[in-house]
Amino acid sequence: MASHSNESHAVDYKKAKSKHSAKLHYLTFSLSMILTVISFYIVGNIIDPAREYAITSWTFGLPFITLLAIVQALFQLIFWMHMNEKGHLFPAMGIALGGFIAFTAVIATVYWLGW
């Protein structure tokens, strides 16, 4: 890389920027792992036949693990899929519209068919 003479300032700029975002990517990974472990732990705890030390009930567990999934998805969208970078207005609109229709479909089916 150093053999090219006319790219020095671009490389410096890139180095600074990629160092910064690498940290955010590792952070997103750690957070995703932690949220996943919490979800599995909660469900493992609820279905534990012993249940003497059950920390939670399903009434709390169901919305909570759903929330954890949404938080994890948002972090991955923003950092891993670079939504935090400039020029992502149309992508954000596209994915938000898709997400909205998907969400509506899920809510409608669950509501009409009862759960």
Binding site: F29, M81, G87, G94, W115
Partner: protein, 207 residues
């Protein structure tokens, strides 16, 4: 954009340096919006049919869903999503070796995920006699999870072909956007899995 005046030198963000690249990115996001609708409908079908199969053969998935396998699949896919973003970081540093390394790891992890899924499905059909056509619930389960698996398969093939193209054409403003959107696709596949392990497996285990 100024880097255009130096042929042979890649601009800092090669994936969005040309109009074609930028269009590709935006078009791909719209495609991902459509994919969300597809998976949303499959999730809706699955949730609607869950617990609504009157069939005597209807199985309670809590009896055979193996959370250990699902946990391994989740870790594998999560790590592969990280490795694909590391490949893109390598691309931004114009480090082709890093692109090869991390995308190859991504593909290998994707293949191990598929291996686990095939093992899981064959256990369900052979050992637990839970078949695709058994109940509407079973169909919706296999369609949703299988469609995700098909996306993983397509992703591994796509990324492998792009790596092959990279060896022939090198990293240019033409190949960079392709690698970038392939990584986006891979993240999206991982993102869908987050909802699959939560809604299908974890919730299925309790309901």
């Amino acid at each position: 954009m100024s880097a255009h005046s130096h042929p042979g030198v890649l601009p800092p963000h090669p994936e969005s340096a040309t109009l074609e690249g930028r269009n590709k990115l935006m078009g791909f996001w719209l495609f991902l919006g459509g994919e969300s609708v597809l998976f949303g409908c499959l999730f809706a079908t699955f949730l609607g049919l869950r617990g609504h199969s009157d069939d005597l053969l209807a199985k309670n998935p809590a009896e055979f869903f193996d959370l250990t396998t699902v946990a391994w699949s989740t870790v594998i896919l999560l790590v592969s999503s990280l490795t694909s973003v590391l490949a893109i970081l390598g691309m931004h540093k114009r480090n082709t070796k890093q692109i090869y390394l991390w995308f190859t790891v991504t593909v290998l992890l994707g293949l191990s995920f598929l291996g686990l899924e095939i093992m899981e499905f064959s256990n369900y059909t052979n050992h637990d006699s839970f078949h695709f056509t058994q109940t509407a619930y079973a169909s919706s389960f296999y369609t949703l999870v299988g469609f995700h698996g098909a996306h993983v398969l397509f992703g591994t093939l796509w990324i492998s072909l792009l790596l092959l193209q990279l060896t022939r054409k090198g990293l240019t403003v033409v190949t960079a956007p392709k690698l970038y959107v392939a990584a986006l696709y891979w993240h999206f596949v991982d993102l869908v899995w987050v909802f699959i392990f939560t809604v299908v497996y974890l919730m299925g285990k309790v309901a």
